[in-house]
Subunit: 207 residues, 2 copies
DNA sequence: GTCTTTATTACCCTTTAGGGTAGTTTTTAG
DNA sequence: CTAAAAACTACCCTAAAGGGTAATAAAGAC
């Protein structure tokens, strides 16, 4: 079991405490409880959690949504809104920030737990989509002259930051051979250095 | 408007033609119509589309689902199932392959169009998650000694395959300065070459 | 105002990478 | 079986990157 650190952003201390207790009972760790947007942003920067519980209506406004936007822009973290079904307009704004879930007040222990679990799970799924492994089919369909299997093997090692020497050792071939392969790879991918090669690979993998 | 090339996999030629006509009427391009799994795989390899319309029940079996699995493993393409609500077990299998949508037979022109639009849109959203831009906050929270703004600027250029000279030109500074920055960056990120640096950046961005 | 961090530059030297040419050995396809 | 493609190797040379040291200027913190 991996520790999940939760940041609670809620301006009503009693509710915040309730949530904290419920979370701890369900094997979560509370990284901090904050009562304002500024404190929330500071916590995100200095003591980043794995998940954020976010009251939509902070200090009478929609500060929760502003925090959500910052999370989406600057941090790759899941967050769940705390909501009491206030006004519909706020809920529309909230939905557009793509929250991992909602906790509706008053909440039950089980409901909280379920929302958190789903949030963590969905975020793990999303994580898998980021920086996927190189795939020869995806790459080759963009190339006039496709990479051979061996060349693709070399490409993967370059992509993972290996030097020519390390590649030679890994593949049990001479460094001269490695260089020859890289020469051909550079031609096929129109690159002239490892780093431009890697940048091009990323591009090919997204299209 | 960008051309969307659609591969149709459907063993009943009449239905396939219907779909093709409807697609063309809705400004899609049909890259090919195939009637078997083997032909579908060949098309994916040799003439890759942007989207696949996939009959679940090909040749009496569940070949459509097998094709879907290959698409998920080897290609990063959205696909929509063609289904006639046959048996529930098949539908469960189909759901597990994460299709971008379903087209239910008999389909209407509008229904087809909607399903395709949604599929294309969702796929574009997913694409954004792949290989995201570097983010200094995300990177710095993993580092004991964070990157300065300038260093992060250099990092981004390295990440995009620029040489030291190009970086110097881009930032209007001396190549010696660039080298000094890179030296510090390497220390902070525990790297000793551009490519290991890039690999490490990827790793930091996913955690 | 001083101290610290960041940014800037220079010089030197070593290692790594990249590009050209050329050759042999496997593998694979027709 | 033969031709073509892919894999492997060597050698040479140039360019780029990386690491050490050191010094000045600018910006921010206290």
């Amino acid at each position: 079991m991996i520790e999940v650190r939760v940041l609670i952003v809620e301006d009503e201390p009693l509710i915040a405490e309730d949530i904290a207790t419920a979370l701890i009972n369900n094997d979560f760790t509370v990284s901090a409880i904050v009562y304002s947007k500024d404190d929330a942003l500071a916590e995100l920067k200095n003591n980043p959690p794995d998940l954020v519980v976010l009251d939509i209506n902070l200090n009478g406004g929609e500060e929760g949504i502003e925090i959500a936007k910052v999370i989406n822009e600057k941090y790759f973290l899941p967050f769940v809104y705390l909501t009491s079904y206030s006004d519909k307009l706020t809920l529309i704004h909230a939905k557009n920030t793509e929250p991992a879930g909602y906790i509706v007040k008053p909440f039950s222990d089980a409901g909280l737990f379920a929302a958190m679990e789903i949030a963590v799970y969905n975020h793990a799924q999303k994580s898998k989509l980021r920086f996927p492994e190189l795939n020869d089919d995806v790459i080759n369909r963009h190339l006039p002259s496709p990479l051979s299997e061996r060349e693709f093997g070399v490409v993967q090692l370059i992509y993972n930051g290996k030097t020519n020497n390390q590649i030679a050792e890994d593949l049990f071939i001479s460094i001269n051979t490695v260089k020859a392969h890289i020469k051909n790879i550079h031609q096929k991918l129109d690159a002239d250095s490892r780093s431009t090669l890697i940048a091009r690979l990323r591009k090919l993998m997204t299209n």
